[in-house]
Amino acid sequence: MLEAANIRKKFGGLVAVDGVDLEIGNGEIVGLIGPNGAGKTTLFNTITGVLEPEQETEITFNGEDIVALGTHEIARAGLLRTFQIVRVFGEMSVFENAVAGALFGTEESISQEEAEDRAREALAFVGLEDKADMQAENLPIAQQKQLELARAVASEPDLVLLDEIASGLTPGEIEELSDTIRRLRDELGISVFWIEHIMDAIMGTADRIIVLKSGEKIAEGTPEEIRNDQVVTEAYLGAEDES
């Protein structure tokens, strides 16, 4: 589904992402972890066309080369994302947010009625159907994050990239969210690429985990393998020493 080779992104002299290869298959939930400043968000931004990667970067999605595409074209191709700092349309209602997701996120053009149906389904999927008429900015943060996910789901994507969607949530909310992410794959067939700081959430949900440090991939494996990986443990300890 998503195949990338040698993803590189520099900010002036700083190499934020340094030659990362990755592959995300159909129906997979892949975690992306790493200390603060490792380049995780930058990696998402290069994949989704928010940032232009360096020349040598190759990224294909469903067989299509997406390196040169704009963010909106990548979204329409079925690759959606959420943001580390939540970005719902605050002045719109919850329902309008989801309708916007459904209306614009597909290559075919769909009718208003069809978009509204998809929006209702997406809100029900994350459990926000009761809040449909509320103004989005009045939702608590946890629900704004669910709405951001619903807005992506409403476009019926193939793959969603989640950027620290669990941060700031209570343990109960994280449990619920992890369950929603599993259902995303099991019920809707959507693959997930998920950056997360909260280890319990991602270790219990992901099929496979990629570890990034200083822009480089330092490990990849099942949650079990990653937990026991010497290099990863050191990377995290090192990062903690610095801070």
Binding site: A75, M92, F104
Partner: protein
């Protein structure tokens, strides 16, 4: 009608009011002129509402684009020898393409609202210079009589003053622009505009082509502004560059939009009625201070009154538990948008 056009009944009522408005003052060229100018500035403000209110692109070359519309219409009609009714759409599309280009460049380069306003203000100055300088085409600062659209013939046949016929032509364009606005804001375009205005990056991330929608807004605004400019010259029956300056058009249109209420469906017409009333009073008592007074008014409005009279009146009535009733056409998100 309401199914086809949300709030269509309300628009029909407003339309009826303006159809009847000239009847008591038909004989007075002055009052008919005031009514015409009211609708013309409502028309400019509708364009500004679309491109600035809904798209954060502050076009400060409305005078210039209006002049492009008016001069181009006259030049095409004259040089090709066709009716101004055929020349006007061509001129409007030309102005639309100028608007589109400005929006396209600004969106591609992620210009802020400040940068767009500086860019367009510069273009305004260029256009103003060109209108004066291209003497051969525009008659320079002396201008030329502007009596296109064979309206005096119609007036004669109907036995009414030409100014009254001009008024009804303006009214027809105003109502058409209102229908277009209401349809636009309640369509997919309205949702895209709102998403872009709130958060461009989030809008892009869900598949909205920000550059495309901003360019469309720029095109539509350019078309409406060119039509308004052409009718402004026709209403004056004489065209000179002084009709199309920043002070004569842009400042007034901005005041109209802000007074009425940005992103309010009826903001432009409510604002235009208020501003034209003020104009009429100033014209009688303080004509020389007109520009200074409107300039000061604009500053005050931006500082203290950005939500406009419609929102203020609604708040006032809500405080007293009275409802105005009847939505005014926009989506909820649009209608509640007030202070920036």
């Amino acid at each position: 009608m309401s199914d086809f056009l949300p709030g269509g009944r309300k628009l029909a009522l407003v339309g009826l009011l303006f159809v009847l408005a000239p009847l008591p003052v038909m004989g007075s060229g002055y009052f008919v002129g005031v009514l015409s100018r009211t609708l013309l500035f409502a028309l400019f403000a509708i364009a500004l509402n679309i491109v600035f209110g809904h798209n954060d692109q502050l076009f400060l070359f409305m005078g210039g684009l209006g002049g492009i519309g008016a001069y181009t219409t006259a030049l095409i009609a004259d040089s090709v020898g066709v009716s101004a009714w055929l020349a006007l759409p061509v001129a409007a599309v030309i102005a639309g393409l100028i608007g589109l280009s400005v929006s396209w460049i600004s969106a591609r380069r992620s210009f802020t609202v400040i940068l767009i306003s500086i860019l367009t203000l510069n273009l305004q100055l260029v256009f103003s210079e060109a209108f004066i300088g291209a003497r051969g085409l525009t008659g320079g600062s002396t201008g030329f009589p502007y009596e296109l659209f064979t309206l005096s013939g119609i007036a004669e046949a109907a036995g009414v003053p030409t100014a009254v016929v001009i008024y009804y032509v303006i009214l027809a364009f105003f109502l058409a622009a209102m229908v277009l606005y209401i349809w636009l804001i309640n369509s997919k375009y309205g949702i895209a505009f709102e998403a872009i205005r709130e958060d461009e990056m989030a809008a892009e991330s869900i598949g909205i082509d920000v550059v495309r929608y901003k360019s469309i807004a720029g095109f539509i605004a350019g078309v409406i502004i060119a039509i308004a400019g052409t009718l402004l010259a026709r209403e004056a029956t004489y065209i000179t560059p002084s009709i199309f300056t920043f002070l004569a058009v842009d400042v007034i249109a901005l005041v109209v939009l802000i007074v009425g209420g940005i992103r309010q469906t009826y903001g432009p017409i409510v604002g235009a009625v208020i501003v034209e009333a003020i104009e009429a009073i100033l014209g009688t008592y303080a004509a020389n201070w007109r520009t200074a007074i409107f300039g000061a008014l604009l500053i005050l409005l931006f500082l203290y009154f950005r939500s406009g009279v419609i929102v203020k009146a609604q708040e006032f009535l809500e405080d007293r538990d009275v409802s105005l009733g009847g939505g005014n056409g926009g989506t909820a998100a649009v209608d509640t948008g007030g202070d920036g």
